[in-house]
Symmetry: C2
Subunit: 519 residues, 2 copies
């Protein structure tokens, strides 16, 4: 066996079953070794952002890492922006980055660059393998790191991949994902302060914590104390809809977010950080809470926040616990199907009605989607992906990875015509893999958020020369033509009726589809 065989064998041994890849010459032995690694599915992306974004989406659903395969520094560079999002999503990812043969690096051939330096700002762990014999242990270390919700970047010199080695036997085994440390003192303090605060208390679930069980545990505490349950604007995945315990999403806009937090003098942070504005603005405070708000950190990053929240529950006074009624889960509440011209409000109602059971919704709708949270609370149960790191263009790749992790679920990508233009070639991978992703592209033909932000930063008049950098007309992108060109069936909807008909058709079919929703 060679180093590439050993590496793939170690990935298989540690439960990695999917490798999103955009390979080059230095990765040819890895690719060839895939023929023998029959438990790993290689998925080709035509651009590296599609690869890393898919790994993020896969991880958000599977809670286990997918691998990526990237080609030297520039290939890694093309994948960094979605690694930034994955890092902020606490998604487990194992990157394998091919590099020149170790002896070739010093010659400074054209593709040579500082791969470690490129990986470091977007990785928790970076290692250049010392050689073929180290690879199986490198993989175990990388998977261990990833399972903490971190980005592991393993650099694979070409000669480490192609050199032969004796069969090393069973590869080393990675550690499982850590369970949260339940901090009894923090739990007691949270219970005491929430009990005191009553309706001036809130529990903010962020990171990977807003899963169904944790939301139920938080709702129970809320029922006993009068606190409100919030989810972070940028939580990567939130369990929502009928049968789940509804939580309010913190609004994106600074003013409404500050108004919301002003209602609370006690805020318990569950896998969340002290809330801050996404951007700074000349005349606004950057912190979303009041200066005297009491912030209590209950636990760090985890998918099992139900355990620390259980400790808070148990630390509540007996009287509060017995007096509390069990909180009611959200009832199914499907809005009427709207008709006529398309507006953001009607789109919210449409989604509230149309989201299929157990769907995954990847929401990069930006300005179009600001009313979707309220409108979809009573929808059929589903998982909702928010933006995490704020880097644009993630929804198509992330939806693709989620669909591959969960072939039994329908995936809905809520995309915008601006953000969808960053990585449109992801549609080709959707077609290749036949994933059940329906992408709605909301076409307002401008960077509407930047038009809004111009006003927010105090620019009153946007002239023609500046406006050219904010508008997407001249020409208008024909998303139907683009999508069909990549092999994904597509339709255009200019009324709610057309949207509804196209959506039903798309859902009924196997494989991907795209609907350009003209606003």
């Amino acid at each position: 066996m060679n180093g590439a065989d050993s590496l793939l064998s170690a990935l298989e041994h540690n439960g990695v079953t999917t490798c999103f890849a955009n390979p080059g010459t230095s990765e040819m032995h890895f690719v060839a070794a895939l023929d023998g690694a029959t438990r790993i599915r290689g998925v080709l992306g035509l651009f590296e952002g599609a690869v890393t974004g898919a790994a993020d989406g896969y991880a958000r659903m599977a809670d286990e890492p997918a691998a990526t395969l990237l080609h030297l520094g520039p290939g890694l560079a093309n994948g960094l922006s979605n690694l930034h999002n994955a890092r902020r999503a606490h998604s487990p990812v194992v990157n394998v980055i091919g590099d020149h043969a170790s002896y070739h690096r010093a010659l400074d051939a054209p593709l040579t660059s500082d791969v470690e330096g490129t990986a470091r700002p977007f990785s928790h762990w970076v290692r250049t393998s010392s050689g073929e014999r180290a690879l199986s242990a490198d993989v175990a270390d990388a998977v261990t790191v990833a399972r903490r919700g971190e980005i592991a970047s393993l650099i694979l010199p070409a000669d480490a991949a192609w050199n032969e080695l004796p069969d090393p036997g069973t590869p080393p085994t990675a550690l499982p994902a850590p369970l949260p440390q339940v901090d009894a003192l923090a739990a007691e303090a949270a219970a005491r302060r929430l009990h005191e605060a009553g309706p001036r208390g809130a529990i903010l679930l962020g990171g990977r914590t807003p899963r169904a069980e944790a939301l139920e545990a938080a709702a129970r505490i809320a029922a006993a104390t009068g606190a409100e349950v919030l989810t972070d604007t940028f939580a990567p995945r939130v369990s929502r809809g009928a049968g789940r315990h509804a939580a309010r999403k913190v609004p994106y806009a600074v003013g409404p977010a500050q108004e919301l937090f002003a209602r609370f003098d006690t805020l318990v942070l569950v896998g969340a950080r002290p809330p801050v504005a996404f951007f700074a603005y000349p005349t606004k405070r950057s912190r979303l809470t009041q200066p005297d708000t009491r912030l209590l950190e209950l636990c760090g990053e985890t998918t099992r926040a139900d355990l620390p929240l259980q400790a808070v529950w148990e630390a509540l006074p007996e009287s509060a616990r017995t007096a509390a009624e069990a909180p009611a889960a959200t009832r199914l509440s499907l809005p009427e199907m709207p008709s006529g011209s398309i507006t953001p409000e009607k789109l919210g109602a449409f989604l509230g009605r149309a989201i299929p059971e157990n769907a995954v919704v990847a929401d990069e709708s930006i300005t179009t989607g600001w009313a979707f949270d309220a409108a979809t609370r009573g929808a059929r149960p589903h998982e909702w992906f928010n933006p995490t790191g704020g880097s644009i263009g993630w929804a198509l790749p992330v939806a693709t990875g989620a669909a591959l992790a969960c072939p039994e679920r329908k995936v809905i990508a809520l995309e915008s015509d601006g953000s969808g233009m960053y990585m449109p070639q992801t549609l080709w991978t959707q077609a290749r893999e036949g994933v059940d992703v329906v992408s709605l592209v909301f076409a307002n033909r401008r960077y509407q958020i930047l038009r809004n932000e111009m006003a927010n930063v105090g620019v009153e008049d946007v002239g023609e020369r500046a406006g050219q950098l904010l508008d997407l007309d001249r020409p208008v992108v024909d998303w139907v033509s683009v999508s069909r060109g990549f092999g994904v069936p597509a339709w255009r909807a200019e009324t709610m009726e057309e949207l509804s008909a196209a959506f039903d058709r798309a859902l009924a079919a196997e494989g991907p589809a795209l609907i350009e929703v003209v606003l």
Copy 2:
């Protein structure tokens, strides 16, 4: 005025006339200031790779920097791979990278990342501006750096852009591009060794040196000594065609390149580095020259290599100079237009005939184009862009930038269906700006170079699972549909006659066009 006004005023003062941009919220003051900076044209890219690649193409033709405008760490990250190519092309580029307001960074909002650390591996110079009063000097320093053929990355905190400052008067002036230091000792050594070596001597022009004047100067030395003139495989821009002095391009493949260099025992490097293989291979040497080849470095990076070469000429013995006949420039020699089915050989002849006078050819044809060099030597005079850093997907962006730098020239992008998929949204910018770019997309529906490289690295049988990562069928990309979707007229050619007719139609029209050339 605010910091953004001051920055743009300094760019204008220093001759920057084009800013390729993909802005976000933190750049809104920069964008607003464009309304007042009427000497700077803002050009919107829908993805940052289109922005930085266009800056590279602009610089290859203008020999002056364009500016880019990028949005925080992830926006910069999306532009890095084409900055890698620009760095290897020695293209002058001034990046302006917006970042959070200085006081907002410590809050670690979602889009926060290590911008300096991200820029550094792909920049020669990185500076975070210390504030609005420093910006005009920052710009002068950045332009000075760029004019050396380097990448300058200036990070602009949002508050530095929006803070007011007193009018600073005339901004500082950047230094001009340095002329090459003529090293008399090196010139004398080169002259002596070339004279001794006769036909076993060669002059290798790399980097920005293979311009018409330098090629003429090298040809004159070659005529007097018997040496051969070569151009580097990865020279960013080579003056070619009728009326120019022809030079052989070093082949990409290691075997043929090593055979070529084995013919020489003396090699004078003009803006070139000691030649090495693009990749390492298990059974091949990485250096292209023989161990005992004498390498002489005449000069470093410059666009005026005619000056050092003139010094070599003057150092040749009087007898050699007077005996030498003036070297003949290449005669116009247009191949017959081929007909019938499309092959790489016929495409070479087609290009040799079809390249219009003073065109720019951006060549990312990869495996399809390996015979183009010989076939186009007698074409009408033109400038030929080679890959430089080896990062894929550059031809569409670079062609766009070159066309904006030279609106009087026709630009031909030779693209492949694999590489063209990295940044296809560049076509939208071509449509928006109405640039005269004709893109030929050679569609063999596979990563043919990787199929070849599998054999080169010793993999004999590529199985089905590995082959899935090398082939681009299932589905076949419909480039005509994709291109039209982005607003660029497009046709498909399946015979040489169809190609010729479509090319004539595309050239005759104003604005961009794309032809999918099915192989």
